[in-house]
């Protein structure tokens, strides 16, 4: 299986620049500097790379949207990994920090950026230390700073730690946080490519996305695009968690059947139990039933199955799970993480949590399901940012696909009232 990101991840001391360089690290820079910035953007477009943070937007296209001739421009790497189930970026940050730095240099060159920030969630304090050490090494080696490798390119790169707020993974909230404000999302448009950090054109990309630019530069966009499906190119780093025998982060070619991911790579369901439900791309996407486990793991196929690839976090639940309990857990999460800026999200997440809580405690009423659906309808596409839609996904999908779990609890509530 062709891997682009993790083929050498277990090399001892890969995090040090010495070992990284021995593995060919930073070799893409001279190749890039021999080309014009626009050519690099075109290569990334040709590779078919799409944003690995959750939205799946074509990366090269995003770069090409930067406001023309407006400077300075900024790059913000989104390392605020907070989507429940997702722990893939941490592997890259921890074990291969120079890959990220190299990818960010390529992006900065392509987009004519001279200042870049790596926004890490506050809990990643230890990973920020690793990144800082790697940055120091990169400066010493002349890959960062003024006139990089004699190319005339200048780039300063810094880490920045958040302090505990899921919403800061949303790109405009991340920029507000980086500007020293509460991490509330901004109205879009203007998009960050036009008015981003400090009001200047800004690229915001996920860790995995930026890392993928390095193999695209080294091996060529054709080699990258040769892996995967027609519209989902390359490989995806997937975090598998929950009821599997071998949870872990697995890099797979896009389009691999989800069954292979769960039963081969992740070793199958614990205790050889039956698969009941799976969430393909982190808690913010609809959960799917076991009957759809042959769905290829790529953007289009998972969308056709009724969900989203999201951040690439596959959460697996076996037949012992009551899905309502997990939907409740996630409702609690979104209630906690709603920033409070807009009413449908602030109020809606609380209502969802309260009603699910009643149902879970066997105090629900039959009318509760319709009420949940109504609240979800009043939140979907009516919230200020995607957090509201994310909060709706586990609730609606669990009602659609696992209604029997709700009915079981509602029947128990009925029996309890009757006795």
């Amino acid at each position: 299986m062709k891997l682009f990101l993790t083929h050498n991840i277990d090399t001892k001391d890969l995090h040090s620049i010495k070992v990284y360089k021995k593995q060919g690290g930073y070799g893409s820079l001279e190749k890039a500097f021999a080309k014009k910035p626009d050519e690099i953007v075109q290569m990334v477009k040709d590779s078919g790379l799409r944003g690995r943070g959750g939205a799946g937007f074509p990366t090269g296209l995003k770069w090409s949207f930067l406001a023309k001739d407006v400077f300075p421009r900024y790059l913000a790497c989104n390392a605020d990994e907070s989507e429940p189930g997702t722990c893939k970026d941490r592997v890259l940050l921890q074990k291969n920090p120079h890959l990220l730095i190299e990818g960010m240099i390529l992006c900065a060159y392509a987009c004519q950026i001279e200042t870049a920030y790596i926004y890490l969630r506050g809990e990643f304090y230890d990973l920020a230390e690793i990144m800082d050490k790697a940055l120091e090494e990169a400066y010493e080696a002349g890959y960062l700073g003024a006139n990089i490798l004699g190319s005339g390119m200048n780039l300063e790169m810094y880490t920045h730690l958040g302090a505990g707020a899921y919403i800061c993974g949303e790109e405009s909230a991340l920029l507000n946080s980086l500007e020293g404000m509460r991490g509330e999302p901004r109205l879009k448009p203007p998009f960050p490519a036009v008015e981003g950090l400090y009001g200047k054109p800004t690229v915001v990309n996920n860790v995995e996305t930026l890392c993928a630019v390095v193999p695209i530069m080294n091996e060529g966009p054709e080699a990258y695009a040769a892996v995967g499906t027609e519209k989902s190119k390359g490989t995806k780093l997937v975090s598998v968690s929950g009821h599997v025998k071998k949870p872990g982060n697995y890099e797979i070619p896009m389009g691999l059947p989800t069954r292979d991911l769960i039963y081969d790579l992740a070793g199958g369901i614990r205790d050889d139990n039956e698969l009941k439900a799976w969430i393909p791309g982190g808690s913010s996407v609809p959960m799917l039933p076991a009957s759809l486990v042959d769905t290829p793991y790529d953007y289009e196929a998972i969308a056709a199955a009724g969900s989203m690839l999201g951040s690439g976090a596959l959460i697996v639940m076996d037949h012992t799970t009551n899905v309502v309990e997990e939907a409740l857990r996630l409702a609690g999460f979104y209630m906690h993480e709603s920033c409070g800026k807009c009413t449908p999200c602030r109020e809606g997440t609380r209502w969802l949590h309260q009603i699910l809580s009643d149902i879970h405690l066997k105090k629900g009423k039959e009318s509760n399901i319709a009420l949940l659906e109504d609240i979800c309808d009043n939140m979907s596409f009516k919230c200020f940012c995607p957090l509201g839609d994310a909060a709706v996904a586990p609730v609606i999908s669990s009602i659609q696909n696992f209604r029997e779990d709700y009915e079981e609890l509602l029947n128990l509530a009925k029996a309890g009232t009757a006795s």
């Binding site: 920045h160 400090y198 929950g242």
Partner: protein, 156 residues
Amino acid sequence: MFTFSESSEKQIEKIMKKYPVKRSAILPLLALAQRQDGYITPEAMVEIGKRIDCSPAYVQSVCSFYTMFYTKPVGKYVIQFCINISCHLLGCDDLLEYTANKLNIKVGETTADNKITLLKEECLAECSAAPVMRLNDTYHTNLTREKIDQILDSLD
């Protein structure tokens, strides 16, 4: 009265150079104040406000947005226990209750000797090694009751 220590001042010098706008230093400065005193006092907010040309009220409004900033004293050790879905599927509720009982406190409280604060936390992004907790800056993964015993017993 709050003052940054000499070593904090050295770090502040580096932090301020990172950003074209002083206000961007607010999270790093709050984090630094918390590392120094264990939590963030109103006096620290006043001092931080001076450094970044913002009012103390502004500093407080930002501080209150982020859950990792404590505005009340916490224990020498802070345990952040993940309760989100991947950890929940693998029994974190039982382990959290076990930890609370062992420490003889409720979740959200600090032990009487001010040694350990136990908090529940949303996803810590180490889901494929669930259940997970963070003890100060260190992650502990694949938790079991035995592991929790060992970790708690090892704290001085």
